[in-house]
Symmetry: C2
Subunit: 306 residues, 2 copies
């Protein structure tokens, strides 16, 4: 049983509650809280050695670690088309860690809270033999019953991505802006025309598969249309970078074709690119530069295995 | 700067939000969510080597680790007089961990959800070089504006504890029931007569200090009245165990003296004991078996330093 099979087992047997409207397997869970606002809920983590290094050429500063932990959880809130309200943070410092490092980490964490105007509502600090880890839990809000999920994409929907993809490990994975403002602008402009959304954390290939699987659809993307980051373009295989590098933290959206004009009028600073469309079936294909339809194999960036 | 000074700095500079009614420094944060229910929010963690061991004589089973992580966060929800609704869990497994261990851990986590009828709404699983850690975030609910905090104790209030104290490391710290049912029964019987509450995680001494500090009051407890666990009574210094052992996960409550009769009619299976009262001033004292008033020094069990 691999990690993904294990996670499927966990989801299948997760206890539920009458108020839980969106459960495990989505970017965020949602609760039907008494009142008019949707309540979304999320946890995410960064672990030394897996999500960042503190030593060597690719090392992150403690500030970047704090920022990344908070911003990647915000990215999930953005993928639900919601806005963060309050965060809780659990930090484990390796015993004997200099307090300057703790303060720097805290600066990174709170910089993200301040930028997106949400509260740091509390936390827990422990010191153990384990390396540095930062776990962030977020409560977010949005219009009632309107959290975006990975399910809901329909054949004929258009697939859009924000920003550019690939090569995030060079720099961006430590220093990205979660697409909260963009998600808010998209929701305001498109309303219910957004049928599904996911944030790209495992690479476009795997995350497109997740979206297709949850929605029970297939998809086609055009290689020529996929926006490549400068870092990816410096690589020998830029498209492979976009497909399988992780931690882009961009949004992939399935949008009703009726909303195409609205989507194109929407000028996002990070850019918003049409890359393909949703199809009947269950498999995802690429229309390559060589004008061939190729099945998009389910490969990507798996945390902790590279 | 020690751990406590660091935490004070963190609290002081924590970004806030208009909906945040109770911020850092309490057992739970609270949000003024649109609607009639109080929303409380909490994070807590267990780290291998600090909160449990997987090897040696005192080792915990993976089931116990999962249970403990969930139950200790529930204990904070109980200390707010609220009830858990949904949990999020972030687990880090040491790379190469057998999946049987992951499944056992999951069984412990979900057993607690089922016992107290709340949802496991999602989670995150990572594999890194770090040891096993389980971080739990909980959303809980209660009557609007009525979450108990550590602040609010008044001179003249009576101090009660649930259960018995001390010696939890022998066994109980892995296998306790969070006092959720008890908190619910107390709230139902006493209403607004509960002025403050804290769960005892750092030992009675330190947690009584926390309550006094947050409420701006002093306190006196009677050594003779403090209920000692069987494990504490086997020790050469049972009262010291009750004062400074950590992880009792019992509730310490400051209750209006008007509610004394109601409190005494309340028959909790775990027991509920009057141990002292709240006083003017800022220091806590013990009336010892030798009939002397002694200042309760601010010592206790500090996680990660023993």
């Amino acid at each position: 049983m691999g990690e993904r099979a294990l996670i499927r087992t966990f989801r299948k047997h997760a206890p539920t509650h009458p108020w839980l409207t969106i459960g495990p397997g989505q970017d965020c869970a949602a609760l039907r809280w008494d009142g008019r606002r949707e309540l979304v809920f999320k946890i995410d983590q960064v672990q030394e050695g897996t999500h960042f290094l503190l030593k060597g050429k690719e090392r992150a500063t403690p500030y970047q670690v704090g920022w990344k932990a908070m911003a990647k959880t915000c990215s999930d809130i953005a993928a639900a088309g919601c806005w963060p309200v309050a965060a809780m943070v659990a930090v484990n410092l390796k015993k004997g860690t200099d307090e300057k490092i703790a303060l720097e980490l805290y600066r990174g964490i709170t910089a993200c809270c301040r930028k997106y105007r949400f509260a740091l509502a509390g936390g827990d600090l422990s010191a153990s033999k384990n390396g540095l880890s930062v776990v962030v839990s977020l409560i977010g809000e949005g219009p009632r019953g309107a959290a975006w999920t990975r399910a809901g994409a329909k054949p004929g929907d258009l697939l859009y991505v924000t920003g550019t993809l690939g090569g995030s490990r060079a720099h961006k994975h430590l220093d990205f802006a979660p697409r909260l403002d963009e998600a808010r602008a998209i929701r305001a402009a498109l309303g219910k025309n957004v049928h599904a959304c996911i944030d790209i954390t495992d690479g476009l290939s795997r995350d497109l598969h997740h979206l297709c699987e949850e929605s029970g659809v297939g998809a086609v993307i055009w290689e020529r249309l996929v926006p490549l980051s400068a870092a990816a373009r410096r690589d020998a295989h830029p498209f492979a970078r976009a497909l399988s590098d992780g931690e882009d933290f961009e949004l992939l959206l399935a949008v009703s074709p009726r909303a195409r004009a609205k989507m194109e009028r929407l000028k996002l600073r990070c850019g918003m690119t049409l890359i393909g469309c949703v199809a009947r079936g269950t498999s995802a294909h690429v229309y390559t530069r060589e004008k061939r339809f190729v099945k998009l194999s389910d490969v990507g960036y798996e945390h902790g295995t590279q």
